[in-house]
Amino acid sequence: MRKQALLTLSGVSKRYGTVQANQAIDLEVKSGSIHAILGENGAGKSTLMKLIYGVEHPDDGSIAWNGAPVQLSRPSDAQALGIGMVFQHFSLFETLSVVQNVSLMVPGRPAEIATKIGDLGRKFGLVVDPDAMVHTLSVGERQRVEIIRCLLLNPKLLILDEPTSVLPPQSVKLLFETLRKLQAEGTAILFISHKLEEIRALCDEATVLRDGKVTGRVDPRAHSARDLAQMMIGRDMPHLAVSNSAQPGEVRLRLHNLSHPRATQFGTTLTDVNLDLRAGQVIGIAGISGNGQQELAALISGELRARKPEMVQIMGQAVGRRGPMHRRALGFTFVPEERLGRGAVPEMSLADNSLLTAHGQGMLRGGFIKRRVEQSFTRRCMEDFDVRTSGPDAEAGALSGGNLQKFILGREIMLAPDVMLVSQPTWGVDIGAATAIRRRLIEMRDNGAAILVISEELEELFEICDILHVLHEGRLSTGLPAADTTAEEVGAYMIGARL
């Protein structure tokens, strides 16, 4: 029996400036199926979803709903057809309650809506307090609110954009159960992801994108993760062999009973964080964003001053009250999670961006910039770290995420740091570049550097770290040797089930 095609895209193309984000995409989504859109960052998944949801408009091609061509000029057009979307970075309003958030999309009186939220929650395992303010909810709960908000409009097609990227492993299981129940009710689901195992576990159809083009249409259950990866990145999945036999050396970074009150209502208070990072060691800090990662990174880098000097010690010196320059002079470097605006100045050339942290490498004489040194440093960084762009004079903002990250990381590594803090090293970076970055970090460790990595990607942490800590609600767990722990154990810490 052939299921009816609910949504059909034929030859859909979309171009942004010189970038062909989507090229002649054909896609067919059937009622009651969970259809995966698989692709790396930058493969055009998000653009495609925006076209379907009416946020963007295709340059070419047509979209049909139940066989009839439709014109989607704005999101409300898509909603009217029965298309619901759960965004990767949620479209919720933090200062409003759950009911208020839902009532912005769903007609009805608040009391009725609260009842509906409760009913739906019980039916699909989406439990959430209707009167809670959104800013008090965990990421998983926020996602539930967003899904509930879509479901109350009785969608025939539900789009989820990278829904698992922000969830701990336990919540992913719950989400999958919910999605299967929805599928059983006849709802079609478009599931966007770059995580192969999840897609194989959940989806019955998959469309693979690479560089804006469809490179495969398969039943993911019938293919191995390796096959899917090959379709996704066009070559074999790169491998990273890691082993650390060396004994760690002296303590390079010590956090001693580090407590810090939150700065705003939406910040996180850090409580008694203790950590010893030694030479020749990579320590990873896992946890869901918003549990104090930003505060911790700012306190270590010196952007925030700790309340007492001894709370942060670098190379044996109490530097808690010192600024970033002082800490860098001791041999510390820092790669922040925001590439544009903090890691690099978008409007400045790469060469000038080098100057920002590498000015101590002979780039200055009497306050004047020695352009030749600046240029050669930048050129060396670009060669060593495979930064693909026109040259040292290219604007930082014009580089792709992966290339810019390689540049920033390269710049900091070239300073030969004794201690390094890297925040979200491979966010939005394609698999090839991510592997290269991880390999570099391992190399540095083998050369005796001490590295602290803050990341949301558990797999990445397991790949490169010797010891894992988990940050949950501003408290840091004890160190778990990466070789002896499991994703489930770390996940339990991430949601506060273990302390």
Binding site: P75, S76, F87, F90, S91, F93, E94, L104, M105, P261
Partner: protein, 294 residues
């Protein structure tokens, strides 16, 4: 008339221009914009209203004309900021300066001319209460309408879906757009509302409160209204309270002069502005402490 009676009788009227302009700006800021052109929009409204009333004698026409012209000026701001995506601080200041200039231009030939104000009405029964009856509870029609309007605005912002939408747009415009709200249209409407309110505020100042035309008669009230929005933490009730407080302060100056307190009048007339600065300091200190305590 004692000083107390004088204050009771005059506070609401003195506060009214501040109240209207601040409430208008509050709605604008709730949608996530900041229009710094209050002073200019009030000044244009004041000039247009005065000219209208001078020639026709009808206050209704004066208020309507002022509302329309100030709203048009506000739409210039909306066009610059929402459509052309200009910097809103620069655009707001430009609108303010433009408004002041237009006001001086229109009002040039009317300098020092006077018109008649509006009669005052006592509330039935209540106006027989001693002391407050003939003073606080006897006001002109615009004051009574403004009281009703303030309550209505509170209701709309806090109890209706429209209020929810305005808050949502201001908090996260990206999300509001994603779930299908026409953010630009909502913001345009808010800016137009803000302009209208400034026009009415200016009209009241020039045709009722002091029915006499003098260039620069708004005298910084637009800036005070702007500070009031922050002072009132974007809540209707608190903004209204702040406006009353400044109404009393501005009268206190006159009272003190009448009683003959030996303070230079310049000090007294700078009082509302000094208090504005003081309040902003106190508020931000309070927020700073609150964040340290957490």
């Amino acid at each position: 008339m004692s000083a107390v009676e004088f204050l009771l009788a005059g506070t609401l009227a003195a506060a009214l221009p501040l109240l209207l302009a601040a409430l208008g700006e509050m709605v604008v800021e709730k949608t996530g914009l900041l229009n710094l052109g209050l002073e200019g929009m009030m000044a244009v409204g004041a000039a247009i209203a005065f000219i209208c009333v001078y020639h026709t004698g009808a206050h209704v026409l004066g208020f309507m004309a002022a509302a329309i012209v100030s709203a048009i000026l506000a739409m210039v701001f909306a066009f610059l900021v929402i459509l052309v995506k200009a910097n809103q601080v620069a655009a707001g200041l430009a609108i303010g300066v433009l408004g002041l200039g237009l006001s001086a231009l229109f009002g040039k030939t009317y300098e020092s001319l006077t018109i008649s104000g509006l009669p005052e009405y006592g509330l039935p029964l209540l106006s027989h209460i001693p002391l407050i009856g003939p003073t606080l509870l006897t006001q002109d029609i615009v004051v009574w309408l403004a009281v009703i309007g303030t309550i209505a605005l509170w209701y709309v912002l806090n109890k209706t879906k429209l209020g929810l939408i305005i808050t949502a747009v201001g908090e996260n415009a990206e999300a509001a757009r994603a779930i299908g709200y026409p953010v630009a249209v909502i913001r345009c409407a808010a800016v137009a509302f803000g302009g209208t309110m400034c026009g009415l505020a200016g009209a009241y100042a020039s045709t009722v409160y002091t029915p006499l035309w003098a260039d620069g008669m708004i005298a910084g009230r637009g800036w005070i209204a702007l500070a009031l929005v922050v002072f009132g933490t974007w809540q209707t009730g608190r903004v209204a309270f702040g406006a009353l407080l400044f109404g009393i302060l501005s009268l206190g100056e006159l009272t003190a002069q009448a009683i003959g307190v030996a303070i230079p009048s310049q000090v007294l007339s700078s009082l509302p502005y000094l208090v504005t600065i003081l309040m902003l300091v106190v508020i931000s200190r309070h927020q700073f402490r609150a964040s340290k305590r957490l």
